[in-house]
Subunit: 251 residues, 2 copies
DNA sequence: GTTCCAAAAGTGTCTAACAAGTGTGCACGC
DNA sequence: GCGTGCACACTTGTTAGACACTTTTGGAAC
């Protein structure tokens, strides 16, 4: 991508920012957010490969903003874990290696399995999660990447359902990386959409039945399979969780 | 506190920053971090009361730095949850009300109880946690505030023991607020040090015995009591968890 | 007393610049 | 020829001053 492309793209953001009391308030409210959002999107798409250097000066020039603005956007992504950087060193796109994938998925499991237990204790089945799962089913086998959005929504709905502001914040600190992993899983076609959807459904059922322990166990299977398959795809040695348990095979 | 006091205090940080290749590298590496650390310390001490406004200009003048530097420090504390601010509004010290306390302690419980379960599954008793608990015992009934540091260390040791980078990061996003709560609990003398220490000990025993469920349950009691007593002290209506279960009463 | 307008205070962003740290390549000496 | 050290380019950290815009506040008019 050339500077010109970036400048063109930035045009929209300038509009949103400068005239942000008009129509498209939905977008980012500040220039920093707009740049961070755009960089994030480009990271998900894979346009910015792992290890690539992102200097403040280049970003400032590309988006036609001052360096401090670019700096703030970069620092935001560093805080999200999508970029890494040391003191006085230029920010680089975080490489998604097998060990990172395991770390991310295990961290998810820690938080989500406990959430399932507590939701099951009160038999609370969040409506948003059920809706999200229906949306997954509606996507069908069209484009695998279209599953990412409702899949993310399913899991965040569960987290948000506990109604704890800080739990949601903690999960959000993970969300960017989770989404990155999911995008990879889907673009590599590592999972069957029907299986994802079926397991989600079962998890909701178990919550409704008050069986938190079983729901947490199923979640571990659900996440574990995705995790180990992605690990394998990235060149790591997959664990046994990569296999597909037959009792949930569709058909 | 006057501007002069702040400027004096800042002198130390300038030294640490400018000459940070000499002796005291341990301190903050950047000016922004130094200011953030100082503000954090003053928040814990209670010098900055809840609701107090912290304008960028004032901070810049107080610490004798440029406004962007002060801005960065403020944004850091906002990210930690110690300050709150809206767009175009001046940052204020987050008020620690009953609902915040419940939110914070419940979020802790979500993460920590799951960690206990997983540690118990492998019967992993972290050495750091045991050490921290001995340090609590050593403090005795001297000054209640001295318990805060080893108490924090006990809990962070447990979290870090799972060896998951992102789990530690998530917990760290909570740590400042947890410490703030703890400081209040101790300065109000809401808990007996011996009880804290005894329950910590029991939790470690249960982990070693592989009884994760029991450890998690005890943690809920442990945190629940502190939570509800602090809620009561802050003017909220305490739940039943504020009571002291007799089976763990010292003596 | 209420409402509206204008000034003041404060934040978001930019430009320009200097200081300090990191890394690279080249010259020099062995 | 090869390793060491130094100088230079690149990049980040921080500052100063400035302007645009927003929120708040105070007063004036009704």
């Amino acid at each position: 991508m050339t500077s010109a492309d970036l400048s063109d793209k930035m045009g929209e953001y300038e509009l949103k920012s400068v005239r942000h009391n008009v129509a498209f308030r939905v977008a980012a409210t500040s220039i920093v957010d707009a740049i961070a959002d755009d960089l994030r999107a480009r990271l998900f798409v894979g346009e910015l490969a792992g290890g690539m250097a992102l200097t403040e000066t280049d970003m400032a020039a590309s988006y036609d903003v001052a360096r401090p603005t670019a700096k703030a956007a970069i620092e935001k992504l560093v805080a999200e874990g999508l970029l890494v950087r040391g003191v006085h060193k230029t920010a680089r796109v975080a490489a998604l290696g097998p060990e990172s994938v395991r770390d991310i998925y295990l961290a998810r499991a820690y938080l989500e399995s406990e959430v399932l237990r507590r939701l099951a204790a009160t038999r609370t089945v969040p409506a948003g999660a059920a809706q999200a799962n229906q949306d997954i089913a509606a996507v069908g086998d069209g484009s695998a990447l279209a599953v990412v959005e409702p899949d993310m929504r399913f899991h965040t709905s569960l987290i948000d359902a506990v109604g704890n502001e800080r739990v949601s914040k903690m999960y959000r600190s993970l969300v960017s990386e989770v989404r990155l992993c999911m995008t990879r899983v889907q673009s590599l076609n590592l999972l069957d959409t029907a299986l994802i959807q079926a397991e989600h459904e079962k998890i909701l059922e178990l919550i409704g039945a008050g069986e938190g322990e079983a729901a947490a166990a199923l979640l571990d299977v659900h996440l574990g399979r995705a995790r180990e398959r992605l690990v394998a795809a990235l060149g790591g040695r997959p664990g046994p969780a990569a296999e597909l348990p037959s009792d949930l095979l569709p058909s």
